[in-house]
Symmetry: C2
Subunit: 179 residues, 2 copies
């Protein structure tokens, strides 16, 4: 990549912020496809790709997803789209199935970063490991037993002023060569 291309990538990572207020504008199918392709492009344990994505645009269903995800999930109610990221235990790496949690996290972060580059804001609404949320989402979507809700992502065009500040660099978290 040339210097400008690198800068675009790094700026996109650094300027991503949680967006909780969205305009009514919907997300075009091409952009949704790009976001999903980004989600599928991350590494996964032994390349098992142990995730599935439920895309919701129906307003009533978005409200139900918010209800199922407890406090702080209200951004879903005005989102253009919610994605329920799910792990798939039938595909998960045998012997260390819990890698599904990491694999779904990678997919979700890729989608969020891709959306940000497209001008689409998002907020990550935690589901797993809060098991009452996991259970409620599974019930809402009548999921098979091997499909486990991981996270809800709310997407839409930002109706709030973008924060362009960069998060603090915290030297205290860096340990050189040893703890």
């Amino acid at each position: 990549m040339n210097k400008e291309q690198k800068q675009s990538v790094i700026e996109n990572i650094m300027t991503r912020r949680s967006i909780r207020n969205f305009t009514g504008q919907s997300i075009i199918p091409d952009d949704l496809h790009t976001i999903l392709a980004a989600g599928m492009s991350g590494p996964s344990c032994a390349d098992v790709r142990d995730w599935s994505f439920i895309i919701v645009t129906n307003k009533e269903m978005l409200g139900k997803m918010a209800d199922a995800n407890g406090r702080y999930a209200d951004p879903l109610r005005n989102a253009a789209m919610g994605i329920l990221v799910c792990g798939d235990l039938q595909r998960a790496f045998k012997g260390a199935e819990d890698y599904w949690i990491i694999d779904c996290s990678i997919a979700a972060q890729n989608m969020i970063l891709c959306a940000h580059s497209l001008g689409i804001g998002s907020v990550w609404l935690g589901t797993w490991p809060q098991m009452e949320r996991v259970k409620e989402q599974a019930k809402l979507f009548k999921l098979p037993e091997h499909i486990i809700p991981h996270s809800v992502l709310a997407f839409g065009y930002p109706a709030e002023k973008e924060q362009r500040n960069v998060k603090d660099f915290d030297d205290s978290r860096i340990h050189m060569e040893q703890w």
Copy 2:
């Protein structure tokens, strides 16, 4: 972002591939700083930022990290740098501490994507949830009890031909409006 900038971000996400063979070239401090800043820019549960990073460039120590991480960790032995991503249970979200697993995954993926844009290859070597690896890394680095090894990332300049193929888009993982 303009069209070209968007394309840079999306291309960077789509073309990241695990790199396991590295040249001897070391990573300059500026690039390391950028990679770490990217790691710190992701969302975390309630913004607790419950991670720490141990950066290792010493060859002997890289060998020991590889030994501690079991099979498939050999890329560390010729890497310019290894990063042990750790969760910090003292900072983790109270009441649902296991969000640290997701928060560390986000940080790691951000670092990998940032490195890729800088021409630096990487491979993600799973540690958690394989508890023998977690234990061995904790022992090697004499970690306090609240610091939990999550993943090892090996970084370096690629000594293998870059694969520019894009991962399959798998329609079977997409569920519209319902499961």
